[in-house]
């Protein structure tokens, strides 16, 4: 439990880092993740994620979008899996569709797990050029009690992701940093609460900072 103090400091630092920027958007980003294991190392993963703005220069509530995705994955080794799927994004005045491909490597160590995710996606929207994104994310989950995360125990998760996107003649780079405190309710159920900080548009124009307060719920069947 002693580890909660530095983790809380990190979460607060991230929050204030976002607030101190000129162009900052803050809001909520809850997600529901449901997975089903299938025979022969196949699995299905469904996710619903909603985004709501609370602040943009001033308090300004706005419903932004809801993403719904379904991804099928298959292990190609004990620690490596390939997955592909489809996502639909519903916004108040538009709907976009996204194809997703990813390769994930999860390594297990004493006290923590480390994952590398390499992914690509293509977003299609009416009257707009297709957006292609190439992403790399490194994530780590640290057990806060014992050597691994057991039911009834807390954990800490840290994400760092780099995205390169290209749409028509325009391209951009986005950097994401996430810090979460999680709790394992059961072997198949986890909940995470934390901050997802994103910065983009810093190559060709003034940077855009976004800070999302996220609650992620994971259920495995």
């Amino acid at each position: 439990m002693k580890r909660f103090f530095p983790i809380s400091i990190l979460l607060l630092t991230l929050a204030f880092a976002g607030m101190s920027q000129n162009t900052v958007q803050m809001g909520l980003l809850p997600s529901l993740n449901v997975s089903k294991k299938l025979p022969k190392d196949w699995s299905l993963h469904a996710k619903a994620e909603s985004r709501q703005q609370l602040y943009r220069g001033d308090f300004d509530y706005a419903y932004l979008n809801t993403d719904m995705s379904l991804i099928a994955g298959s292990k190609i080794s004990l620690n490596t899996s390939l997955a592909a799927g489809y996502l639909v994004r519903v916004e108040p005045d538009a709907v976009s569709h996204r194809a997703i491909q990813q390769l994930t490597i999860v390594n297990r160590y004493a006290g923590f797990r480390l994952s590398h995710r390499f992914s690509a996606d293509q977003t299609f929207q009416r009257d707009e050029a297709t957006e292609f994104r190439f992403r790399y994310r490194i994530s780590s989950e640290f057990a806060l009690q014992g050597q691994s995360v057991d039911p009834g125990e807390y954990f800490f998760k840290l994400n760092n992701e780099y995205l390169y996107s290209i749409q028509g003649k325009a391209d951009d780079v986005e950097i994401r940093l996430g810090a979460f405190v999680g709790y394992s309710l059961k072997p198949e159920t986890k909940i995470e609460l934390g901050i997802d900080y994103r910065v983009d548009s810093f190559i060709n124009s003034s940077s855009r900072h976004r800070l999302w307060f996220a609650v992620n719920f994971y259920q495995n069947f």
Binding site: N33, S35, P39, K40, D41, H45, K47, I71, G73, K75, S77, L78, N79, S81, A83, Q102, T104, V106, R108, A110, R113, S115, R117, S139, E141, Q145, G146, Q147, S148, V149, D150, P151, K157, G182, P187, E188, K190, E192, N216, Y218, N220
Partner: protein, 184 residues
């Protein structure tokens, strides 16, 4: 650490659940603390309490000169075994060959994830061996080998126990924790 083991082979299937919780040294029975002190490893010791389906035990873990040591004791602090991390070249060649032959016969393809040499038997014999003192009879050596392999279409992690000559004793299937929150 919650690990679920399924005992395979001719023995009727059993499930073994273990939950590992970090504890302070003062919570550990004196017998267990005394054993670790006698080893005089000189490195920081981390103590854990393990809750299994049918017993509670204590485990001391440490790392010295890049080698991992794990010492297991009963709930009353009675010595059970010492496990020391090893590389394939640390194991006698003929023993390693016999274990590899068994794994080759069992799996089409496999990878050795971890090897630990397990020292059990009498407490005095284990202490004398580890402290490089004159040998005392009663030392029992086993090899614990963790292997990743594909079986029945699924990649899994297995823990094998071999005797001092590399003869197969038993195997467990390790059920891994979900990784969805790191993948998606």
């Amino acid at each position: 650490m919650l690990v679920v083991f399924f005992v395979m082979g001719s023995v009727a299937a059993q499930n073994k659940y273990e939950k590992e919780v970090r504890v302070s040294e003062s919570e550990v029975p004196p017998n267990a603390r005394n054993f670790v002190e006698k080893l005089n490893l000189g490195s920081k010791i981390k103590w854990y309490q393990e809750f299994g389906t049918d017993k509670i035990s204590f485990e001391a873990k440490t790392k010295k000169d890049e080698t991992r040591y794990s010492m297991e004791f009963s709930g009353e602090g009675l010595f059970e075994d010492v496990e020391i991390g090893a590389k394939p070249h640390d194991v006698p060649q003929e023993v390693m060959k016999k274990m590899r032959d068994y794994l080759n016969d069992t799996f089409h393809k496999y990878a050795i994830d971890k090897i630990q040499v397990q020292y059990s038997g009498s407490e005095e014999a284990v202490l004398a061996f580890l402290k490089k003192e004159p040998a005392i009879s009663g030392l029992v050596i086993h090899y614990e080998v963790v292997v990743s392999a594909k079986e029945d279409g699924n990649y899994s992690l297995f823990e094998f126990l071999f005797d001092a000559g590399g003869g197969f004793i038993q195997r467990y299937k390790i059920v891994l924790q979900n990784t969805e929150n790191l993948e998606y």
